[in-house]
Amino acid sequence: MKRLKKFSFSLVLGILTLAFFCTGAWAEEVTIGFTGPLSGPGSGYGRDNANGLEMAVKDINKAGGITIDGTNYTFNLKTYDDMIDPTAAVNNARRLRARDGARVIFNPVFNTIAPLMEINEQPGSKFLMMAYSSTPKIDELDNELTASIPPPFTAYVRAFADIAWEKGWRKCGMLVTLGAYGDEWRHAWKHHWESLGGEITADKPANYYTETDYSAQLSAVLATNPDFLLIGGPSEPTGLVIEQARNLGFEGGFVLVDQAKMDYIADVVFDGDLSLMNDVVGIAQVLDVPTPAVKDFNKRYEEKFGVHNTFEAMLNYSALNIVFDAMKEAGTVTDPAAIKAAMPEVLPQSAENVPTPYLGILETKLLVPATTGVIKDGEYAEAYQYLWWPEDEDAFEKYKKMAPSGIETRWLPLEGYTTD
């Protein structure tokens, strides 16, 4: 027995040595961390994020990983559930950093990102915080080791208002979700729409996470005869709001806050039927960006996970690819500061490689267009990508060339976020 043990041990050792000499280099596995809601409310959203990361890790490994100084690195993704509980999120991050050796950690909710940004610069346990959060609040936290993935939601406020105004809509009724995100959205939209000269006829928020019937609020809002409704929260209840509004006889338009996805609503809530969704303005459907990279990603994503593809997945996919490239550029997979510092060098990304190419980085903000779409007459009729950071025409022309083609590109500089 003892001899057998000894024998098998030396056998394993032998194979390992052989493998080492054959490849001629160390192959190491690098862990990318994710903590987010995978159960409870928000779990659908959390999974969209994690799925995008999983695709990116799978793709880079299929391409043989990355090689730095002759050492080959492959990746694996570790996901932990935090149920949007800060305690759990911090525990998970500590675990990812200490146990799994992750130097890059993704999180999709501001409530958990904020506590993580308290610990990611602690000496000895630094990590790069990849924050999927569109709230400008994130800029209030002075943190070098952070990159935020989505465009600030105010970019969408401007973009949606731009389209709504163009359509001649003036009177807006609001029925947005309660919650951190909804509160900020409502506030920003109201401010912006009124500054354009529009009118807010009613503002009746509802809790999209806990309620399912919005007819009380809808009846009140519709009684003020608005041209269109600003609605939205998670996609499913947003779909219900549209349905209930149409059932109450409303024939005007809808603007969806950026959390709600029109293509997801059409497919999941209305089973692909767009007849109730006439005059809906919101984040474009995924396929409105007509590049092969998007088509390919979309197809593989839906095959792999059996759920609807979303911008969350694509943005996370692209953002993780920045991390891979930055690691290569910085020549390290372990130093978060060096990886962060190398990011400007590897941007812009090419629209051929990733579905939603990032075009630059401004301090902690990764720059990606705000893609906006409109449903009209039963089809996805219009789509625009808004560049919100170019400070002048020249910069706009420069970035326009980098952005995906085949979709109308517009310029809408956002105060406080502009650069050349």
Binding site: L38, S39, Y80, D81, I84, D85, P86, T87, V90, N91, R94, R95, R97, A98, R99, F110, N111, A114, P115, M117, E118, I119, Q122, G124, S125, T135, K137, E140, L141, L178, G179, A180, Y181, D183, E184
Partner: protein, 334 residues
Amino acid sequence: MFTKPIHTKLLYLVILAAALLLPWYVPDAYIFQIVTMSVIFAISTSGMNLILGYTGQVTLAHGAFFGIGAYGVAIMTKAGISFWLALPASALISAFIGLLIGLPTLRTRGAYFAIVTLCFGVIVWIVSGNWIELTGGHNGIFGIPRPSAIPVPFFGEITFFTQTGMYYLSLAFLLIVLFALHRLVYSVFGLTFMAVRNNEPLADSVGINTFTTKLVSFVAGNFIAGIAGGLYAAIIGAVSPTAAGYMMTFNFLIFVILGGMATLSGPVVGAFAIPIIMEFMQFLEDFRMLIFGALLILVIIYFPMGLVGGLRRLNEKVVAWRQRKTTESGHASS
């Protein structure tokens, strides 16, 4: 009259030493984090135990009072007030609100009291998410400053930027709270809590103001919750409505019951054991809460007194059995 046997004292001494030396042997930041959080939860859970375990009043607002403490420290330290002032102030606010709520609600009993306090908990949770000017709304308050360093003569100063500093800070408060609770519980005054739990009409008839007793217990328990909440805010560095949510209450409740009600060590054991078990179960991924739910039911069926309670009950049974045996033999000989 309230002394413990020597081997129990020894055991506590060993545990205390282990707790004090933890930073020297803790394997990594992850375990350190869990332990530190457990210390904070142990503080809060001990407070709940005073109300629920010793006085027998099922409060479901404990998370709310924890949250009030957390928001108190967050708001005050952001306004520039020193943590060392903000913490006791927040705990006092927590206790004061407990007094205001206790006055009307402690008139109800049993399930009614449970639901009334649950309702209060939900109110605090909703208000914390919507009173944007005060609480920052659902985003909460973030970037909470760390406690300022304490200067120590000849030694320099104690800072609270590292995990070690945070750990000792929480541990110190846990020990103070346990010390205070020990004094309360093992005294004639503490017996009145148990008297109210055990037999309210009799307690009333022997001159105990049962309402005041319940109120004192409720207020003291919420004061402790406030302390724990304040520490939580300083250590996590961000407070959002989750800190005041009813899931927080349910967690505390589970810690108290599974650890062992009406024992000083039970809530502490619960606050350590459950989070650690939950972390162990991470590998179950999607099935984690499924298994945890089932486990919770099984444990409550087979260990109704909780971990410590089970051990203690066993001990009591042995003692009672011995006593009965000596009584019987005494009868026989007389």
